[in-house]
Amino acid sequence: MEKDRRDFLKIGGISVLGLSALPVFEALAQGKDPKAMPDPRALQATQWAIVVDMKKCWEEQEKRQCKDCILACHKVHNVPSIPDAKREIKWIWQEEYKHAFPDQANEYAPEQVKDHPFILLCNHCSNPPCVRVCPTKATWKRAEDGVVMMDFHRCIGCRYCMAGCPFGARSFNWGDPREYLDPQQENPEFPTRRKGVVEKCQFCAERLAVGLQPACVEACKAKALVFGDINDPESEVRKILAENYSLRRKIELGTGPNVYYII
């Protein structure tokens, strides 16, 4: 069979085209491969924030020593209660005005403000120093919704983040936390931590992923905790902040905390 140059080039060209189509076919064929995807119920935001209305909170505190948010959080996340203050683990906790706001604590502030504890938690800063110092990227700021996350698997327990955090929001497991957990009270849906790992509030990332509000917000009967997207002008948090004067902790440090307090 005789082939002239023209035929040769035609067949050659078509063959090259066929070869280049191979990756496209492979990519299309991958549609059947297993894959991971987000839950369609997941809550979306650009930067989550919490507004704590301390007036409502203090009312409940006076009525019944309310610690519902702390109990709910620590229950669902298997946070141990360790009596030794040097070893305690806290995700959400109470603190006096002068310690929560050392930069603006006014000696002559109203008695109510001075005498009642504030509710503190991780501020999920817009510019988190803990993330900058973490050598293993075990903690990072989620680009999608601004949650400062922890990957407990990757934490090496160097505690740089604890030194970096100006809010004391991080706790270190000096020992096995399970020694301080009642096996009957553990939440079987959430892991515990192990010795040598740092932990903190993660805005209930595991609950947001299935369309639930954070446990503390859900537990607060006084509706003193409101959760929402701080970048959405229509969100409830923004409406509350537009109507009330609010405080944030240590804003002069420039970390951009996303937990707001109304007093």
Partner: protein, 125 residues
């Protein structure tokens, strides 16, 4: 041969002692592990052959997907959706760590540290 009276029994003694572990354990091979499969479900998140050899790789992959990318739903090759979670996924079907995980892990002499943090299902043993 000089001293054959000492050398030959010596060699026999040496070979006997040297092979002691082999013949003393003859016929006493540890039984192959028999992990108890769930009765409630017939299919896993991947096929059995893959799960047998690659489950640890899959679990690491899941960990990264869930924790770092917030992808918590697994679309299996059969088109079914699964929760990507040890505690809320795997152990919902494989309800016993002792009867499933430990069977092969003990046989192979490995002790994965999953359970230092992840809670194993409560069993009424």
């Amino acid at each position: 041969m000089y001293d054959s009276g000492k050398i030959i029994p010596g060699i026999i003694l040496f070979v006997g002692l040297f092979t002691f572990p082999f013949w003393s354990n003859m016929g006493k091979a540890a039984p192959a592990p028999k992990p108890e499969l769930p009765k409630t479900a017939k299919v896993c998140v991947m096929d059995t052959a893959f799960m047998k050899t690659e489950h640890m790789v899959l679990l690491n992959h899941w960990r990264d997907k869930v924790v770092r990318e917030a992808n918590r739903v697994w679309l299996g090759p059969d088109g079914k959706e699964y929760k990507m979670s040890i505690q809320n996924g795997c152990m919902q079907c494989h309800t016993s760590k002792a009867k499933f995980c430990d069977q092969c892990h003990n046989y192979a002499g490995v002790s994965p540290y999953c359970w230092q943090c992840h809670l194993e299902p409560k069993e009424n043993l």
